[in-house]
């Protein structure tokens, strides 16, 4: 299912059991998931702060493109790559939206 590339209209969110957590000891953000700890880079953390229930991939890209005053295609590539990686590991809740 997630082998299919994510669509702009897909709603993307972290499931309740995948948690972005600020680690005071290491002084950085970590992503806590079943039997895994991921250390997202600053860009990934920014993306993760923008995904959320009801938000589509396209909306995340639009908001980030405005915030960073960057071309939509550039932002889209980063967001897709990062979220696809999470989806392939089963760490992203994806709900098909309506185009």
């Amino acid at each position: 299912m997630s082998l299919d590339a994510l669509a702009e209209t897909d709603r993307v969110a972290l499931p309740a059991w995948v948690r972005l957590h600020f680690d005071r000891v290491r002084d950085r953000w970590v992503l806590l998931a079943p039997e895994r700890v991921l250390f997202p880079c600053a860009t990934s953390v920014t993306i993760l702060e923008h995904v959320g229930p009801g938000r589509s991939l396209g909306e995340v890209v639009t908001v980030l493109a405005q915030e960073f005053e960057a071309p939509r295609e550039t932002i889209s590539a980063d967001v897709r790559q990062m979220l696809q990686g999470l989806a392939d590991q089963g760490f992203l809740a994806v709900e098909a939206g309506h185009g």
Binding site: L3, W17, R26, L32, P34, E35, V37
Partner: protein, 387 residues
């Protein structure tokens, strides 16, 4: 001499990632490959709820991010909800490692309310008759299937843990199917690792080379077919390997284990190394135990490595392999793990795997608390055998 030198080592400042909390050694199942030591710790010496709260406080302070609540069977403790709630309150990711047979819908709801985030449920096989025989628990398999569905119905993520060996590998494909059908997110296919109870039962569990290859093929194919639907982790058996595994990611590097009575060890099998003395949370802070205690410092990093490990290009990859396996098979915890093909004992290890897997399997010695002294473990390897 080495001990004196190591005693002066600087404290280890890298923080640990995970805490394996063995809340109790009580368990209704009797799996013959149980990772608990042969000498099970008794219930009347178990840490109290307040002790565990303090351990979790100290663990979070030290940098632990995930707590794996294990046993024995952790749900045998009535205060599990309190322990989960405390861990979660500290921001720790809470993972329950369970056989499931003591759980019901209400208890799962209570654990979820307390903040439980993930359940890892063991299955002993795909078919009930095999599973119940391996677990030594009647109708356990059926209960597990009910519990798996309850966990998913509650919206909790589920990992199925399937320990595989010669007596259930023919059901591996069915176990993958079962994990899918149960709605699991992850499947852990773990070949038995031969310490403690599993070492005692080695001949009854050792797969043939052909069984191993068939299993690996099934796992690789399923991984491709199910990517994004079911993640599959795979642990291969040392006896058929060419290189040792970096046990626990290196001694005292990422995770530690607290036993029911409070002993702190770099791995759950480390009590099998008689030369090491493990400090207890009753007497010392976790920080001191992790950073400075001699047992944790003993095999850290690569300075202590013997030859051929010392000059090996892979020493930062596998750290000479597993100390408990070196102890069990070479009689020396500081030796090269015989799983490595550069060990003088490697060929003998292969011979054991070949001979034991080809012979009819003996009866299981089930995991039970024993009053009498346990029977001796299989002998150490000698290089002479390896011709």
């Amino acid at each position: 001499m080495a001990e004196l030198f190591l005693g002066r080592r600087d404290p280890w400042t890298e923080p640990p990632m995970g805490l394996l909390a063995e809340l109790t050694h009580r368990c209704p199942l009797q799996c013959p490959y149980c990772s608990n030591p042969l000498e099970l710790e008794r219930v009347n010496g178990e840490l109290a709820t307040a002790d565990w709260r303090r351990v979790l406080d100290e663990a979070a302070d030290l940098g632990v991010l995930q707590v794996h609540l294990s046993g024995g069977e952790p749900t045998a403790r009535g205060d599990l909800e309190e322990i989960v709630a405390h861990a979660r309150g500290l921001g720790l990711y809470t993972n329950l490692i369970t056989a499931g047979v003591l759980l019901d819908e209400r208890r799962i709801a209570r654990l979820q309310t307390a903040g439980l985030e993930h359940v890892q449920l063991s299955l002993q096989a795909a078919e009930a008759a095999t599973a119940d025989r391996v677990g030594g628990y009647r109708e356990g398999h059926g209960k597990k299937l009910v519990v798996a569905r309850l966990v998913r119905a509650a919206g909790l993520p589920l990992t199925i843990n399937a320990v595989v060996h010669r007596q259930n590998l023919d059901q591996l494909e069915a176990m993958v199917g079962l994990a899918l059908e149960l709605g699991a997110h992850r499947l852990e296919v773990a070949h038995v690792q031969y310490y403690g109870w599993a070492l005692r039962n080695r001949a009854a569990l050792m797969p043939t080379r052909e069984q191993l290859e068939a299993a690996t093929e099934i796992v690789e194919r399923s991984r491709c077919e199910l990517r994004g639907r079911l993640a599959i982790d795979y642990v291969i058996p040392d006896y058929w390997a060419k290189r040792p595994k970096p046990c626990m990611g290196g001694w005292g590097s990422t995770i530690f284990n607290v036993t029911p009575q409070g002993k702190v060890m770099p791995c759950h099998a480390a009590a099998s190394i008689p030369s090491l003395e493990f400090a207890s949370v009753r007497d010392h802070s976790l920080r001191w135990i992790w950073q400075e205690s001699p047992a944790f410092q003993r095999f850290r990093g690569t300075d202590w490595l013997p030859d051929p490990c010392r000059s090996c290009a892979l020493k930062e990859v596998d750290f000479g392999g597993c100390r408990c396996q070196a102890m069990a098979l070479a009689g020396d915890a500081a030796a090269t793990d015989p799983a490595c093909e550069l060990s003088p004992l490697h060929a003998a290890m292969f011979d054991v795997a070949r001979a034991e897997s080809a012979a009819p399997p003996p009866e299981f010695v089930y995991r039970r608390p024993r009053r009498e002294a346990p029977a001796p473990l299989p002998g150490r390897l000698t290089a002479e055998v390896a011709s």
